[in-house]
């Protein structure tokens, strides 16, 4: 649940989602759910010339199971806070 809460704090920020089919989509994070399914607004495929498939798509739903990486805006993440939170969660799980 920690990363679900974490991603909720990033809604409204611009992120790049890299998928397991090597497609990378940049957009404004609209929402996430408990499976880390993601909704993006104002999307742009990173290499549009190579992947013109989503040219007429402005907002999309991405299934959490196909996400490989999510690139985050550095200034929107408090890494120390996240560090502490992950350690606390690991300690509670043990």
């Amino acid at each position: 649940m920690l990363f679900y809460s974490f991603f909720k704090t990033l809604t409204g920020k611009e992120v790049t989602v890299e998928l397991k089919n090597d497609l990378a989509i940049t957009g404004i994070l609209h929402s996430v759910d408990q499976y880390l399914n993601i909704k993006l607004n104002e999307i742009k495929v990173v290499d549009e010339a190579k992947h013109p498939h989503l040219l007429a798509v402005k907002n999309c739903f991405i299934r959490g199971s196909v996400v490989r990486y999510i690139q985050l805006p550095q200034d929107a993440v408090d890494t120390d806070l996240l560090h502490d939170a992950t350690r606390r969660e690991a300690r509670n799980a043990a």
């Binding site: 089919n21 090597d22 497609l23 996430v32 498939h53 040219l55 007429a56 999309c60 299934r63 199971s65």
Partner: protein, 109 residues
Amino acid sequence: MKRTASERDGGGRRETGLSAYVGSAISIITNDGRHILGTLKGFDQVQNLVIEGSRERVYSPDEGVETLELGLYLMRGDCIAVVGELDEEADAEIDLPSLKAHPIGDVLH
């Protein structure tokens, strides 16, 4: 005028589900790299989808895009990668017969 999904769920709680797309034209990318378009008729919590009037766009690097009519489809959620809301006006402006591209790759877990 028809409202887009982003306007419809603009107010209130931010919903990650597909309810905002029901009744709209959508564009789906499957785990095996296929590109399917149609109208979303229904869905469930694992993203099984019912697509009406579906058609597949087949991309190739040396010929234009070929469109195959498929009709009513039920797609299993675990083979779906991306569901996008299709802007039909923008889509109509794409010159499909001269659009050449490699197909999207498979999802490799």
